[in-house]
């Protein structure tokens, strides 16, 4: 009997989202010859989620353009699919995954890419028809059908998903009201300058806001939502509700198998868990951020791709990818928001450009180190900022603030 080498190991991937699908692709790209089984609980092949709240809602993208790879790619590359397959249990000593259907799938190497799910609001009326989340293509399809000229959308939570959906709703001729618990939108993920700018921009596009507003009950008639009752008793009438109050990692499978979890599955820079045969990648992980010397959970496509590369490289004994600066983007109306880095322990903000003209960037410094940049319609500030964050060399706040000094010059 020959020993199993990693190159012909059987790799089982649980989760067929952007991370899981990309891991299968990178394994084949890097020359993996063994069996690959990709288990996903949705009926669809791996697809891109970011367009769901943008191009997809507006009818500008179809299923083909969303999918990561065409259907034939999986057969041609010997990637076995188990769609609508729910992994129920991992047996680490036997090295098997048991699906809810009862099927037992053996692995040499397991990659957990189970992602995150939309956080639910535990309030009365959450089960009414028309109270939606936005995480999957099926969610997006429901929301798309509920929107249209004259329809009234109530968004619970002023985060990126909610704001993008509100912008798309306005483009479709629907009314949109964003209800936010905090005093400003994007409170947990952006600085105040950016929050106020986005509120103002959305306001000018006809989006209404209820800030500092708690949600008490979803009201309904005949099983369908008709309004959102706020904590102060007022009711926001609506035809559809989108609950966008964050996501929670699907880390229960790992936890039940005795793996370390802490708001996500704990992994190292190879995306490996404490069990050398088990990796975890994407939104479900609590991962090291070497630039910031801490562990953190990221929800982003670049993170999913980076960790898919880390795992595939480690499995095949290749050098891992260069650590990346975390980054994020959002498209709303004609705004391109690009964010690089995370403002950990930042003690100073520098604004460059013209906020009123919707072309500016906010830099976040910790001492003289750049921690993060938030750029609106300002690609040079984003690109140069991302490079400066990676370099960890001192930056001059005065130069950053001075638009007459080009970003090229600031970055060198």
């Amino acid at each position: 009997m020959s020993a199993v080498t990693n190159q012909n190991a059987c790799v089982v991937i649980v989760g067929a989202g952007h991370a899981g699908g990309s891991a299968a692709a990178f394994l084949r790209q890097y020359g993996h010859e063994g069996r690959i089984v990709l288990i996903g609980d949705e009926p669809l092949l791996p697809y891109q989620r970011p367009p769901l709240s943008k191009a997809w809602l507006k009818g500008e993208a179809d299923a083909d353009s969303l999918s990561l790879k065409p259907a034939e790619w999986y057969a041609e590359n010997n990637v076995m699919l188990r769609l609508e397959g729910v992994a129920g249990r991992i047996n680490r000593s036997a090295k098997t995954v048991t699906l809810a259907s009862g099927e037992v799938i053996p692995y040499d190497i397991l990659i957990l890419a189970t992602g995150a799910r939309a956080r639910e609001l535990p309030i009365p009326g959450s089960d009414l028809a028309g109270v939606l989340a936005l995480r999957t293509a099926a969610d997006a399809e429901l929301l798309k059908h509920a929107l249209g000229p004259g329809k009234r959308l109530a968004v619970i939570g002023g985060g990126y998903v909610g704001l993008e959906a509100a912008a798309s709703a306005r483009a479709l001729g629907s009314h949109a009201t964003v209800i936010e618990r905090e005093s400003r939108v994007l409170a947990r993920v952006a600085c105040e300058t950016l929050s106020l700018f986005f509120q103002d921009y959305h306001g000018r596009h006809g989006v209404a806001f209820e800030l500092n507003a708690g949600v008490a009950v979803f009201e309904g008639v005949n099983g369908h939502v008709t309004g959102v009752r706020l904590s102060d008793g007022r009711v926001i009438a609506c035809d559809v509700v989108l609950v966008g109050v964050g996501a929670v990692p699907n880390d229960e499978l790992a936890k039940d198998a005795g793996l370390d979890t802490a708001n996500g599955v704990v992994v190292d820079l190879e995306a490996r868990t404490a069990d050398p045969s088990i990796f975890a990648i994407g939104d479900v992980t609590h991962r090291p951020l070497p630039l910031y010397e801490r562990q953190f959970r990221l929800e982003s496509v670049p993170n999913a791709l980076e960790q898919a590369k880390q795992a595939a490289s480690a499995i095949l004994g290749r050098p891992g990818p260069t650590p990346e600066v975390p980054w994020f983007w959002s498209d709303q109306y004609d705004l391109k928001l690009q964010i690089a880095g995370l403002p950990f322990e930042a003690d100073r903000q520098v604004v460059r450009g013209d906020v009123a003209a919707a072309k500016f960037a906010v830099f976040h410094l910790k001492g003289n180190l750049l921690q993060a940049v938030e750029a609106v319609n300002a690609p040079p500030e984003f690109m140069a900022g991302k490079q400066l964050i990676a370099k960890r060399t001192p930056v001059s706040a005065e130069k950053l603030a001075d638009p007459s000094v080009s970003m090229k010059e600031v970055a060198t």
Partner: protein, 106 residues
């Protein structure tokens, strides 16, 4: 279908039939061509789908937008024939297009 040839930095060629309407980036990603990462999926937000367009095809691939220009400005190893492949739409007019990939996208 338009025949597009992607040439990796090490010289490996991928001659592929790409459906008009897709972008040159999507054609590469859907066929798992190594070296085009396309982190943002085509939103012109990341500059990780950088290619060099063969000189003979520069006219047919059109002009860069201001957004593309400023993203490319900060990419590595940029040349006059550099483009972001998510911004080039495949059409019958591009049948035969040749693009070369940089050593790295990051």
């Amino acid at each position: 279908m338009a025949k597009i040839t992607y040439i990796e930095h090490d010289g490996t060629e991928h001659a592929l039939d790409i459906k008009p309407g897709l972008t040159v980036m999507e054609g590469a990603v859907k066929n798992n061509v190594p070296g085009i990462d396309a982190d943002c999926g085509g939103a012109c937000a990341c500059a990780t789908c950088h290619v060099y367009v063969d000189e003979a095809w520069l006219d047919k691939t059109g002009d860069k937008s201001a957004m593309e220009e400023s993203m490319l400005d900060f990419a590595e190893n940029v040349e006059p024939n550099s483009r972001l492949s998510c911004q080039i739409k495949v059409s019958d007019a591009l049948d035969g297009l040749i693009v070369r990939l940089p050593e790295s996208q990051h």
